[in-house]
Symmetry: C2
Subunit: 168 residues, 2 copies
């Protein structure tokens, strides 16, 4: 077994650009609405819903059934070839993100680990490899915007030769 | 001027059915994913994006620029004829909702006022009249999923003959 230790980096739009969008108000296009009582930070994620092939955007909530602490060993990642997938925490909590660019055979060294600032969400581009959600609080919820439609839209990759450990 | 006092009701899916969807995990279809580590509460809002006419789903954030307390006087409502509009608070805070069914000339008496439990979002059906966001905290943020595309997709209605007051 090969050990690979990944130190989590603060999430920034620049660093995350190969993988998708950071959903946040900092640096976003914005304008006032409703007589200035509300500021709208507009169109923050490139949703790829594959509507030409019967895809549609859906809103879901995911809740963590288990508590996971750092350091954390990543055993599996997944990708959704037919659509993007956006996550936003429903409390102002940091989210841990472990990603590799779209492609058929990512190497463990292709992955990067990030931690959000609690006021950020992410939108994974179609096909981008990512670790399933983990949280240090059981019951932590996230709002999800992704694709429903025909086709098998989830593939997993198990790390059998590497022990990948994420840490602060 | 005619005074109309509206006492806010707790938001339930049943009461909100004429106006759209309550986005919440209670009572929702759900199933485990990622080896049971995550529970997915699936497809919680009927997004109406009008894709046939060039509409697309977008994700935005709205932030309240002002602090508004109850009792609160509603002076204006709006509707979006070409698409649904979903709101979810980015902290576990109650949201105040004031709505009337879709239609060209709602009367003040057609409106109902609700308050969420802090773990609920709402999705307004296309054309449903609703009050703009208010919050008792300046800077409170909400994630929005609505429609971008051609056409003028916002109409306002000002109450000139009524003083409508929302209260707990």
């Amino acid at each position: 077994m090969i050990n690979l230790n990944v130190k989590l980096e603060p999430l920034t739009q620049e660093a995350f650009a190969p993988f998708g969008d950071v959903i946040e108000i900092e640096g976003a296009k914005h304008f006032p609405i409703n007589c200035g009582t509300i500021e709208r930070y507009h169109d923050l994620a490139n949703l790829d819903i594959d509507t030409d092939n019967g895809g549609r955007a859906i809103v879901s909530i995911m809740s963590c059934n288990e508590t996971r602490e750092l350091p954390y060993q990543v055993k599996v990642v997944e990708r959704h070839p037919f659509g993007s997938q956006a996550f936003f925490p429903l409390d102002s909590v940091p989210m841990i993100v472990f990603v590799a660019p779209a492609g058929d055979a990512p190497k463990p060294e292709d992955f990067r680990g990030f931690i959000t600032n609690g006021r950020q969400g992410v939108n994974y581009r179609a096909g981008v490899w990512h670790m399933p959600l983990i949280s240090d609080r059981k019951g932590q919820c996230y709002l999800i915007v992704d694709r429903a439609g025909p086709g098998h839209n989830c593939e997993e990759l198990h790390f059998s030769d590497h022990v990948i450990t994420l840490s602060n």
